[in-house]
């Protein structure tokens, strides 16, 4: 597969301290290590008792952290820190849907799910994807938020009938800004698919050709269940997605998604939640397969957890389970639960539904458990400290 690389954007490997921002069912935790990535210190919990779907450090300043939180009783909000989590403030106006006109049924936000910093040319811009599906934008680093009308009022994207079907409401699977152009965006949506905007969210077009769906579709452009969407920053016309119905790669010049999960071992399959990319190699990606057979138990496959890596854009896959439990380990990794750092070799990390965080300093060849006994892990984001 031909890939055009813009060598001027190729980053040098990172050499600094690494922090893992871990969102869990009961709060946020930070795991910090020096450059050797051998000794990890656990910090937290922050917001104990809050359901934290996502905690993200702004790569543009290396200091601002946003946290998407709610509790079982209290409504959803966003907390923010500008000093790496030393102190926190709540967003002055967190995302919320507009109040409906008299006699109409309004939408109610269940939780903030996916946080994404905006383009490097727009410091302070962030996006938030919420459930039921809504898109919000902040221009002041998360203090105030406004709905993106082109998304939130788009009947094709926010079909109310399906929004309440999944437990906790339909949610996001990615918000991506093209590193070449702040107005060019992609989003991934559970139950609907991948969409593209060239006008910073004012309008959206479906981008699902080649994807499969194991259910009838009224409109072949809509109805695909994207679990995790990634774009490669060095090859911004290449996207990958882990979908409910397989693993896919899209090279825009080819025009349609290719099911690269067909090359996975048949006994493992290509169902799962997360997919992450090597920051300097657009042909390398990791997934963490789960059991997509029978009743979809949402465990790893056969109680024998393993990551799989491709080094050739999905032509072949290699199992990576050295150091992981060999049997009877029934946890899973959620869609935001896997991440990579930018060191050389790449560090790969994932958090599990039974509260462990695992890491590899050698691109997945060997795994070490970094921490146990946390609450259920929803998200892991590896970041470099400023």
């Amino acid at each position: 597969v031909a890939v055009h690389l813009d060598a001027t954007r190729a980053p040098l490997p990172s050499t600094g301290e690494v922090v893992l921002l871990v969102g869990t069912r009961k709060g946020a935790f930070f795991l910090r290590s020096d450059r050797t990535r051998t000794d990890w210190q656990l910090h937290g919990p922050h917001f104990l008792g809050n359901i934290v779907h996502h905690a993200v450090l702004d790569p543009r300043d290396g200091r601002t952290i946003l946290v998407a939180a709610r509790t079982g009783h209290l409504g959803p909000t966003i907390f923010r820190s500008t000093d790496l989590g030393e102190t926190w403030q709540e967003a002055a106006t967190p995302p919320r849907f507009p109040k409906a006109a008299e006699g109409e049924t309004g939408r109610k936000m269940q939780h903030v799910f996916w946080l994404a910093p905006g383009h490097v040319s727009e410091p302070g811009v962030w996006y938030a994807g919420v459930a039921p599906q809504g898109l919000f934008r902040s221009e002041d680093a998360g203090v105030t938020w406004e709905g993106v009308a082109g998304f939130n009022q788009n009947a094709n994207l926010v079909n109310v009938d399906m929004q309440d079907v999944p437990p906790g409401a339909a949610t996001f699977s990615g918000i991506i800004v093209d590193p070449r152009d702040a107005r060019h965006m992609y989003i991934g949506l559970s139950g609907i698919g991948v969409f593209e905007s060239t006008d910073q969210g004012a309008s959206w077009l479906p981008l699902n050709k080649g994807c499969q769906a194991d259910w009838p579709l009224e409109d072949p452009d809509y109805g695909y269940d994207t679990h995790c969407l990634r774009l490669h920053p060095l090859s911004p016309d290449r996207l990958y997605q882990q979908n409910h119905c397989g693993i896919y790669r899209l090279d825009r010049a080819e025009g349609q998604w290719v099911r690269i999960g067909e090359a996975m071992p048949r006994e493992t399959g290509d169902i799962g939640f997360p997919i992450v990319l090597h920051p300097r190699d657009p042909d390398t990606a990791w997934v963490f397969p789960m059991d997509g057979t029978s009743v979809w138990p949402r465990t790893n496959v056969a109680g024998k957890p393993a990551a799989y890596v491709t080094r050739n854009a999905g032509e072949t896959w290699t199992r990576q389970d050295n150091g992981l439990p060999r049997q009877q380990a029934w946890w899973n990794v959620k869609r935001q639960g896997m991440s990579v750092d930018a060191h050389d070799p790449i560090g790969v990390y994932f958090g599990t539904t039974n509260g462990e965080v695992w890491g590899s300093r050698d691109e997945g060849q060997t795994w070490t458990c970094l921490v146990r006994d946390l609450p259920e892990v929803f998200s892991v984001e590896a970041a470099e400290l400023a």
Binding site: H73, L74, G75, T77, A91, K108
Partner: protein, 85 residues
């Protein structure tokens, strides 16, 4: 009127009981939100419905709407409903 505050909201209000003003529950919660920014949206959603697991009592009787009229001598109790196993 008095407002009794559950532990869940102490990060905002800081004490178990505060005074609020207003001729309705809506006005009383707006008064609290002016002084304790953000607290209203944690217990009332964007359609002005009391959140599913929050219950509000006025003089020991549960109320279901923000339009509930209030008198200065009333006592409001905000309760985080018991749930889970």
């Amino acid at each position: 009127m008095k407002v009794r505050v559950p532990t869940h909201l102490r990060a905002y209000i800081g004490s178990a009981e505060v005074e609020a003003r207003g001729a309705s529950l809506d006005e009383a919660l707006a008064d609290l939100d002016r002084r304790y920014a953000g607290v209203r949206f944690r217990i009332v959603d964007e359609q002005d419905d009391i959140r599913e697991h929050i219950k509000i009592f006025v003089n020991r009787r549960q109320v279901l709407t923000l339009a509930t009229p209030l008198h200065p001598t009333d006592t409001i109790q905000i309760v985080a409903a018991l749930s889970g196993g």
